[in-house]
């Protein structure tokens, strides 16, 4: 048991699984000698050598497309996109092949690969380094999409992703890479993909969040408790696709009110799906419209203004109050 940052926790998940399973290989830009630009793969080249930790040429489509090939050939590749904003160069490989290979081959070939990529704002980075476009992947049949919210669940989910027989897109909230430390057990630990969790219990309103927005949402819940005497239940999605709608639907059956939070642009964003599911599952319990606290339908501004763009506890609290007052 050690107190680890998310970077260290992710590193641990890969290291332990690589020690156990020779078929696990890593590839991506600067993942080897440099240890990854966020140092998530630090030390793995030294431990596993350059046939297992592969510094690739600068070509995202090749990284993703050759990962698929490696999976066909019996390996379990973990590829890294340096930022999710550069994964679009490989988008056709995801949509047209990775998401389809088991289906196209009618079960002959699975694609047990993981594509890791940092996403989201909050680290004062340049253009393309701060986006949240989880919908592109979540809307693509055949892909799973996981977004952890802390070191411990990051490690456990990454381990599950590596072992999953199907392709998993693994979005890492880069704002959380080093923001907190958490006790992470030395022994391996997994979490099921496709299960959300109740991050805070409460009876008055349901707040749904994930990734870097979870901490802000939890903070909002504390404020609501302190200032309004309102107990919010906070759902941490953890997996976006398949979306576990059981916990938030149940919660809303109890609270009757819901606010959803994401950094991604509002229109056609994840909150829309949550609203639709709540309609389908908990319509008669809804006492107020589901409010969305999201990024606007614009590109996240350059870093000087990014905090003004990102949802924060203030905005979540305000939305919760509106919902409660409805």
């Amino acid at each position: 048991m050690a107190k680890l940052t998310m970077v260290q926790a992710l590193n641990l998940a890969m290291r332990q699984e690589m020690e156990k399973d020779e078929d696990v290989v890593l590839l991506g830009e600067d993942v080897g000698v440099d240890g990854g630009i966020f140092r998530v793969t630090d030390g793995l080249l030294e431990e596993f050598g350059e046939t297992r930790v592969i510094d690739t040429p600068l070509a995202e489509s090749a990284i993703v497309g050759s990962s698929l090939g490696m999976a066909l050939g019996g390996l379990k590749p973990i590829c890294e996109m340096q930022f999710s904003g550069f994964s679009y160069l490989a988008f056709h490989q995801f949509e047209s092949h990775i998401a389809r290979y088991r289906w196209r081959s009618q079960g002959r070939y699975g694609v047990p690969m993981v594509a890791r990529m940092p996403y989201g704002g909050g680290v004062r980075a340049l253009e393309h380094h701060s986006e949240s476009r989880e919908v592109y992947y979540a809307h693509t049949p055949g892909l799973k999409l996981v977004i952890p919210s802390g070191p411990r669940n990051a490690r456990a989910l990454l381990l599950s992703a590596i072992r999953d027989p199907d392709p998993v897109i693994f979005f890492e909230p880069k704002a959380l890479y080093r923001a907190v430390r958490e006790e992470v057990p030395d022994d391996e630990e997994t979490l099921p993909i496709g299960e959300s969790r109740v991050a805070r219990e409460g009876d008055d309103i349901t707040l749904v969040a994930y990734g870097a927005m979870l901490a802000r949402t939890l903070q909002a819940a504390e404020t609501l408790a302190d200032e309004d005497g309102v107990e919010a239940e906070v759902i941490d999605l953890l997996t976006i696709q398949p979306l576990d709608d059981s916990k938030f639907s149940e919660s809303v059956r109890k609270t009757g009110r819901c606010v959803t939070v994401h950094e991604a642009p509002r229109s056609f964003g994840p909150a829309g799906e949550i609203a639709a599911r709540l309609m389908e599952r908990s319509f008669l319990y809804l006492e107020a419209p589901v409010e969305r606290v999201t990024g606007a339908d614009i590109h996240i501004p350059y870093f000087a203004r990014e905090q003004a763009y990102l949802p924060d506890a203030e905005r979540i609290v305000a939305a919760a109050r509106r919902t409660l007052d409805f």
Partner: protein
């Protein structure tokens, strides 16, 4: 020397062994037994006849759009025959001859082309990947496969096919580069059949040959007469050996010709002259190898006739099997939910059940869809109709 030429041609060659007049270049002829030649000839002829039969089934509306291979039999068989049963094949969508050589049943291809996903399954014992339609994107998979083979110390190579048009895609470039950098046992086979749908080779790229694109990656490139089975086989054998022994990729350009439509939705009269097609008909790869085998008394007219009827029977048997399968699959629309994941998750089970109910209640027949060329559109000019048919579902493939 402050200014001078950079020499890069060392590993860039052209090759032809059995030319269109039947002249054999002994020096460069590959070592290959008569039996093997007969087997290759048979495979070429089977592919040709199967292709013809598919075209005919498509015209009758029994199967859907597909891309015929006529004219490319030597390019495919000459290359695929150079790899072993345990090696990997990563094709695009026109490699019917190569697929049959590898063991893919004709009935499966027919089922696939009749619009049933089940037909896409590759037999378990074959290291082949399914048809890949997005042009130029599958070569990367071959590089990854080859990486895995080398990683696992398996003495196998990966051969991948693509067209002249595919060489313009970024993924071609990335695949060649990765293969060279990782030193993977990959053989890149470009079937330059002179067209990418309507675009002639000359407008696809300004390079004099496609083979020379290998120079960009520091790997060997060879341009071979793609209608010359012996030449193709020689080039492929070398490349496979280089892949196996040295873990070095090769780019082979087979110069050939698509003698048929791009796909059954295509109308080639819009973009090429009959005269050109006739010119290439004289270079027919089957004629060429047949003449040679007859000359060498490996084959005679009787044997060919016998072979023809044998192939015909095989094909008809396959079609019967395919029809049976199609009938069976037709009853199972919910099969569409299979195989997306190793385990079908609960939300998909739910969606399957919901659809099952809807289908039972009469849905699934496209009710409300205006019919193409239906009432409202039937005041068409007669000569426009042909075009429209050609364009009906696009030249997809």
């Amino acid at each position: 020397m402050p200014r001078g030429q950079i020499n890069v041609a060392r590993e860039l060659e052209y090759l032809s062994v059995l030319d269109e007049d039947g002249k054999l270049d002994e020096e460069h002829a590959p070592e290959v037994s008569d039996d093997d030649l007969k087997a290759m000839h048979r495979a070429m002829l089977l592919a040709r006849r199967f292709d013809e039969r598919m075209l005919n089934l498509q015209r009758q509306g029994r199967i859907g759009t597909f891309g015929p291979l006529k004219g490319q039999e030597a390019a495919q068989i000459g290359t695929v025959a150079a790899i072993g049963d345990n090696d990997w094949l990563i094709p695009s969508y026109r490699e019917t001859a190569a697929a049959l050589w590898r063991g893919t049943p004709m009935s499966g291809l027919l089922v696939y082309n009749a619009g049933y996903n089940e037909g896409g399954r590759i037999p378990d014992e074959q290291n082949d990947t399914p048809i890949a339609i997005p042009v130029g994107t599958q070569m990367l998979h071959a590089v990854g496969v080859a990486y895995a083979l080398k990683y696992k110390g398996e003495d196998k190579v990966a051969m991948t096919y693509f067209g002249d048009g595919a060489t313009s895609q970024g993924d071609f470039h990335e695949a060649m580069n990765f293969a060279a950098v990782y030193e993977t046992p990959t053989v890149f086979v470009c079937q330059n059949n002179q067209y990418a749908i309507s675009l002639p080779r000359a407008k696809q790229t300004q390079s004099a040959t496609l083979a020379q694109k290998a120079v960009a990656y520091g790997v060997p490139g060879i341009q071979v007469d793609g209608n010359d089975l012996l030449g193709v086989y020689a080039a492929a054998t070398e490349a496979v050996k280089r892949a196996r022994d040295e873990h070095r990729p090769t780019l082979i350009e087979c110069v050939t010709y698509r003698m048929e439509v791009h796909t059954t939705a295509d109308d080639p009269t819009r973009y090429r002259e009959d005269e050109e097609v006739e010119r290439w008909a004289k270079r027919d790869p089957i004629d060429r190898i047949q003449r040679y085998l007859k000359q060498r008394d490996v084959l005679d007219d009787d044997a060919i006739e016998e072979l023809e009827s044998e192939l015909k029977e095989e094909i008809e048997t396959a079609w019967s099997q395919a029809q049976e399968a199609i009938e069976k699959y037709g009853d199972d629309p919910l099969h569409m939910f299979e195989h997306l994941f190793a385990e079908t998750p609960p939300y998909l089970e739910e969606q399957r059940e919901a659809l099952a109910k809807a289908l039972e209640a009469g849905a699934g027949k496209g009710t409300g869809q205006p019919q193409a060329n239906g009432e409202e559109a039937d005041d068409e000019e007669a000569d426009e109709e042909t075009d429209e048919e050609a364009g009906e579902n696009g030249d997809n493939g």
